[in-house]
Amino acid sequence: MIRFSLNGLEVKAATGSTILEVSKNMGFPIPTLCNLEGLSSMGACRLCVVEIENYNQTRLVTACTYPVTEGLTVRTASTRVIRARRMIIELLLASAPQSKRIQDLAAAYNVRQQRFRQEYENCILCGLCVRMCKEQMAAGAIGFQGRGQTRSIGVPFNRKSEQCRLCGGCLYVCPICELRCTYTEPEKAVCGGCANISPPCLENLGFDDMMCYMEPCVACEIKKE
């Protein structure tokens, strides 16, 4: 058992638990995007950052990947943490405003605007689909490609995948709710049928064509300006 301090409380936890797990058990909310129970942790979205103190040094680490250690001090909602989370949400809105998950996060943290150049991307590279395909469905049909700005998720050489069993797991876990698998005949792919945007398997639509049921929506507000 490990003893450590969580938001001022003395807590005991099993060895090998992550800060995220313990915080959830204790009822402290930490937002996540790329984390799902049953899949390995990746630490890609950086939303779950918390402040830890070790040997008089404080830094932010992702709660989903950091294992609890003896004598650790953790703060899940300090000023520094909130500031970081709000900026990350702003960046998320700047890239994928059409996602309901991201809009909900923005509402929860009172982010009413984003100040960057607006992009409309379908993927935030959270990797949930890749992990789902590999770990839960044991297919491994899609993977990360490229690096940095050209990083994407897809099938090698954009050819039809022999491993893909059309299970739809990737669609199910995706926080943006867009089709990930670059299947060569999109209309035959299994459609997740999410309610807030038109069928995702068709070509990339412009923002104007997307149906949005949230009102008022952050992205709409920006478009009005």
Binding site: M42, G43, A44, C45, R46, V49, R59, L60, V61, T62, T65, Y66, P67, T69, R80, R83, A84, M87, I88, L91, L92, A94, S95, R115, F116, R117, I124, L125, C126, F144, G146, R147, G148, Q149, R151
Partner: protein, 616 residues
């Protein structure tokens, strides 16, 4: 080559090599690292060999081809031993004369170095200001050693330290020596090497313990690791062997970036020769100690210089960094204990064990001992590699060694530490160059890159350049790094094109701080440094771009205009050079530049001999 079966045999071989050395001959030393070759050293070598063969001088002079000596700007150069005569920028036609003079123990005064202030000729390399103020422990070996001959390394004392340790030394004593020397990692972070070694030694053997030499020198502007690898690869091998002896490691890997082909070649030759001689492999020098080193090539990823990314790259995976803890010492390659040190750190190890930790601490300052090689490049008179004792001030390096500014410009700032570092403004030039002082001013030592900028450099452009580099090299895993670097670049681009606003500047700063806080690895955490340090010391330049739409460094293309003045003599050169045909005019008449067609490429400026092209 016969394998050495015992330590006694090693000493016998060494004595044999030394006694075989012909006495009384002058040696012609030609530095031919990648820089040297780019400047034409290969031609010099060819002609030298030709002259020696044709005139049958093979018993009258020796020829030694080495790696970089450091004064790259003056290459191709020739150094003559034992007088240490230095001939800079040698022409092919001068080679036969130099050879003849060397044989007769004479010098050719008109080819010597000329002091730019006094005009006097200086013969010996060590008297030239560029060299005189340096403390050349490592670079001096580059002059003495032919990197592709292991016997040459042994002749100069190489592998003796190893032999001595294998014969009488104890691993604990070695670690103690490294700790008391205060050697700090030369790759950038400056973590005490002795501490790392101590932790590694305590690790159980398990499935193997790995030593890695991080030769993925990705910092643009830094190339001292390259010169060490090309010029004295055996020093790294010996360093790693000593490290393996001290920490109980059994496998070594040198991870070298693929952009260094000559370094790779020399390393492969060195490793093979060491194996053939029995210095690497099973039963080193006939003792019970075994250690071998293999070479792994990088493939064009700056992020693989980061420890955890490097390990993944060695394992054959994409080089995405992982969170620490667990640290590589606990879980490295395939989960085994792994110790990673930089090239220069390893190169210092044989030096420390040979001369003793105390001697090492006498150079430098407390807590920052020893020497450091910096690559002094940019807008400075003498560019090249300089090895200085830690604690020397920046001003001394720039003016005593580097010769100061060029073209009567003002030196505005010096960028240290590559893309992870920051800019140091002129008013702080009396800063001592050591890990702690640099961190205090918001920069880092990094791997030792030192880029000098004068008033024709724009600090916004510098920040933008580094952000462009970082956004390309980011591995892309962390959202905040990938998007953060991209957005910072966009904001800097806006500012440099005259579309900046005060709000955007505020956003840039906010974003920079969050990126610094929330990313996983060193690349992201230090990505904000170029922005934050230029904002700290050069905020007025940023504001000038925003409010006055002016770039005082005359770099940002959207904010400058090219113009032809009345100095123009009508020579037609710029008209021919202009790729957009934006200049018109007849011979001997004032040429006209059409600003609407001008793409500001700078071709006209570079060909004009009358100083008639200006930028406003």
């Amino acid at each position: 080559m016969k394998k050495i079966e015992s330590i006694t045999d090693f000493y016998l071989l060494r004595d044999h090599i030394i006694s075989d050395r012909p006495e009384g001959l002058s040696t012609l030393i030609i530095p031919a690292g990648t820089c040297g070759q780019a400047s034409g050293a290969n031609d010099l070598i060819r002609v030298a060999k030709k002259v020696i063969l044709e005139k049958k001088l093979i018993d009258h002079i020796r020829l030694r081809i080495t790696g970089c000596h450091g004064f790259c700007q003056m290459e191709p150069s020739i150094l003559i031993e034992p007088r240490n005569t230095f001939y800079p920028k040698v022409d092919l036609g001068q080679v036969p004369l130099i050879i003849e003079a060397a044989i007769n123990n004479e010098i050719i005064p008109q080819l010597l170095w000329t002091d730019s202030e006094t005009g006097e000729k200086i013969e010996r390399q060590q008297d030239i200001p560029f060299f005189r103020h340096q403390s050349r422990t490592l670079l001096a070996s580059n002059e003495k050693v032919d990197p592709i001959r292991i016997h040459n390394y042994i002749e100069n004392g190489g592998y003796q330290t190893l032999a001595g340790l294998l014969e009488k030394g104890k691993p604990d004593a070695v670690i103690k020596e490294i700790k008391s020397s205060g050697l700090r990692g030369r790759g950038g972070a400056g973590f005490p090497a002795g501490l790392k070694w101590e932790l590694m030694a305590k690790k159980p053997k398990g499935n193997g313990k790995f030593l890695i030499c991080n030769a993925d020198e990705g910092d643009p502007g830094a190339y001292m690791d390259r010169s060490l690898l090309e010029g004295n690869p055996h020093s790294i091998v010996e360093g790693m062997l000593i490290g393996a002896f001290a920490t109980g490691a059994d496998k070594g890997i040198i991870y070298v970036r693929s952009e260094y082909p000559l370094a790779i070649k020399h390393l492969m030759i060195a490793l093979r020769q060491a194996r053939d001689l029995g210095i690497l492999g099973q039963r080193v020098l006939g003792t019970g100690f075994s250690f071998d080193i293999s070479l792994v090539k990088g493939a064009g990823a700056f992020v693989c210089g980061e420890e955890t990314a490097l390990i993944k790259s060695v394992e054959g995976k994409p080089g995405e960094p992982e969170q620490r803890p667990p640290f590589p010492i606990d879980k490295g390659i395939n989960g085994n204990p792994t110790l990673i040190n930089n090239v220069e750190t390893w190169a210092n190890v044989p030096v420390i064990l040979a001369k003793g930790a105390k001697a090492f601490t006498r150079i430098g300052t407390p807590n920052n001992t020893g020497t450091k090689i910096f690559s002094l490049v940019g807008k400075i008179k003498y560019t090249g590699l300089v090895e200085i004792p830690m604690g020397m001030t920046l001003r001394q390096i720039l003016f005593d060694i580097g010769g100061g500014q060029i073209d009567n410009r003002e030196i505005k700032a010096v960028q240290t530490g590559g893309p992870s570092g920051g800019c140091i403004p002129e008013k702080l030039f009396d800063l001592p160059m050591d890990y702690d002082s640099l961190a205090e001013v918001g920069s880092i030592m990094g791997s030792g890159g030192m880029i000098v900028m004068d008033d024709h450099s724009c600090m916004v452009d510098v920040a933008k350049y580094f952000m462009n580099f970082l956004k390309d090299e980011s591995c892309g895993k962390c959202f905040s790094c990938r998007k953060g670097t991209q957005r910072m670049y966009e904001l800097l681009d806006d500012i440099s094109r005259g579309e900046g606003t005060v709000e955007k500047l505020k956003l840039l700063e906010e974003l920079a701080l969050v990126v610094k806080d929330t990313t996983l690895c060193g690349l992201g955490q230090t990505a904000a440094n170029p922005v934050l340090s230029t904002l700290r010391y050069f905020r007025d330049e940023y504001l000038e771009h925003i409010e006055a739409r002016k770039c005082r460094g005359k770099v940002c293309k959207d904010l400058i205009t090219y113009r032809i003045t009345e100095n123009c003599t009508g020579c037609l050169l710029c008209i021919k050079a202009c790729p957009e045909k934006a200049i018109s005019g007849k011979k001997k008449e004032l040429h006209q530049l059409d600003e609407s067609k001008c793409i500001k490429c700078g071709a006209c400026l570079s060909v004009c001999k009358d100083n008639a092209v200006i930028i406003i």
